[in-house]
Amino acid sequence: MTRHRTQRRWQIRQPSVLPGFGLALGVTLSWLTLIVLIPLAGLVARASGIGLSSFLALAADPRVIAALKVSFGTAFLAALINVVFGVILAWVLVRYQFWGRRIIDAMVDLPFALPTAVAGIALTAIYAPNGWIGALLEPLGLKVAFTPTGIVIALIFVGLPFVVRTVQPIMEEIDREVEEAAATLGATRFQTISRVLLPGLAPAVLTGFSLAFARGVGEYGSVIFIAGNRPYVSEIAPLLIVIRLEEFNYAGATAIAVIMLIISFAMLLVINSIQAWSRRRYGYGA
């Protein structure tokens, strides 16, 4: 087998003896184009057909702004809570041996496997005023279901595995020597965790946060049952898209979708830049 290293010829791929590159890439690109790129391009085309001034008018609709605030606000809060509990959970799973650890480890993926509509009605049943937990909170004046708090609960459910499954493998790779080094230098266990281990996990935590957050912003099925869906209070942006569609207001639906996509991608871009910066500086990321 001969391999010519032709410097002059511009090459799309490096030479390889394996066959099937053309076929595999062809199938991939065709399928990607048909299923993902054309439909998304259609959305962009439709949005640009609206015209800037009417787009801005649609975007400035107070109900739209309120819905976006609810979606991004609750997703942010839920992702934050998931970071706290997700890191603790990952720590417990990685470091401690106790009865039922494997079952709990498997359970963490439940939100990935359980259809969102099922999660939605189940959470509603528990946190409604007559539900198991809702009934306990009711006398305290705490309402969860049919309020933004309910949305946060649903998004915690949905986002938890993203944080745990991002942080867990990085935690497993922590070099014990680093912890021992901190201890030999006199650091207490708390100082070792807060000053040495957690900063080292920061990139992974950030990734987990952004994944949970992105998922939360777009989440629909688990939220609509528990949210109560009151306009301006507990109405999420994806639901408003559905409502606009049911009103045959395609422009309105498109505008909300485009705004959501722009904000989400901008955030992912920022987070990716932070990761790249971290990799350059500290030599690691997640």
Binding site: V17, W31, L43, R46, A106, V108, D109, L114, P169, P238
Partner: protein, 288 residues
Amino acid sequence: MARDADSLNVQSATTESPLARRALIGLTLVFLLLVLVLPLIAVFTEALRKGVPAFFEALGDAETFSAIRLTLIVAGIAVPLNLVFGIAASWAIAKFEFKGKAFLTTLIDLPFSVSPVISGLVFVLLFGSHSVLGPILKSYNIQILFAVPGLVLATVFVTFPFVARELIPLMQEQGTADEEAALSLGASGWQTFLYVTLPNIKWGLLYGVLLCNARAMGEFGAVSVVSGHIRGMTNTMPLQVEILYNEYNFVAAFAVATLLALLALVTLVLKTLLELRFSDAISSGRRH
């Protein structure tokens, strides 16, 4: 060098005090109980609230039956399509070096960062009655929205990255040495794939298909937008759950939900078994 954990002795330098350990485990258990376990239990207790006969009566409903059938049909089409795509994409990405590879990987992941509702919306905009394609489709009497093709398209979109994501890191870890060896022994490209590559990735493939299928059967937002909610016609199981729930037919809603919950549990058990038995044959760089 010998460095076994020696936890019985005086507190080691790299563990927390037993009290802190117990507190953390306790906190974790309470959190998981409130967030994960109770909802799962609630599905079953709510479904059986009016007794076992009512439960089965609800499941025997004709509309429910057609919802189950539709879900199986949609997943039965969408999953194999993404399986073929996933294998092709990971073959190209994992086994070759080419320009724009990182960008292609990002594009494949794109559906993960799009809201399910938007995933449905894009198809409504593409095939709806006042889209460019709408009138053409209508003149040929082709029904895509509010029919099985639309449901399949939305499901394929949503589950698009699952198989590829599982396979790409796995095939990257495995490298190309095995395939090169097979080729050097005179195997053809297809033989190499069938007898060398496929056996190497089969458990990872199964893992990806499992997750893809769970999502395909459980998808709600995207199919909700394209289905049109025609009873007995375009309602998948999750949509049937919603309709029954909104009609205050809670027992029936939760009865259908139990089937989906069982699907989730079976998925989790199989997934865990795969991870325990074949952890080395499933990518270690796996992330959801």
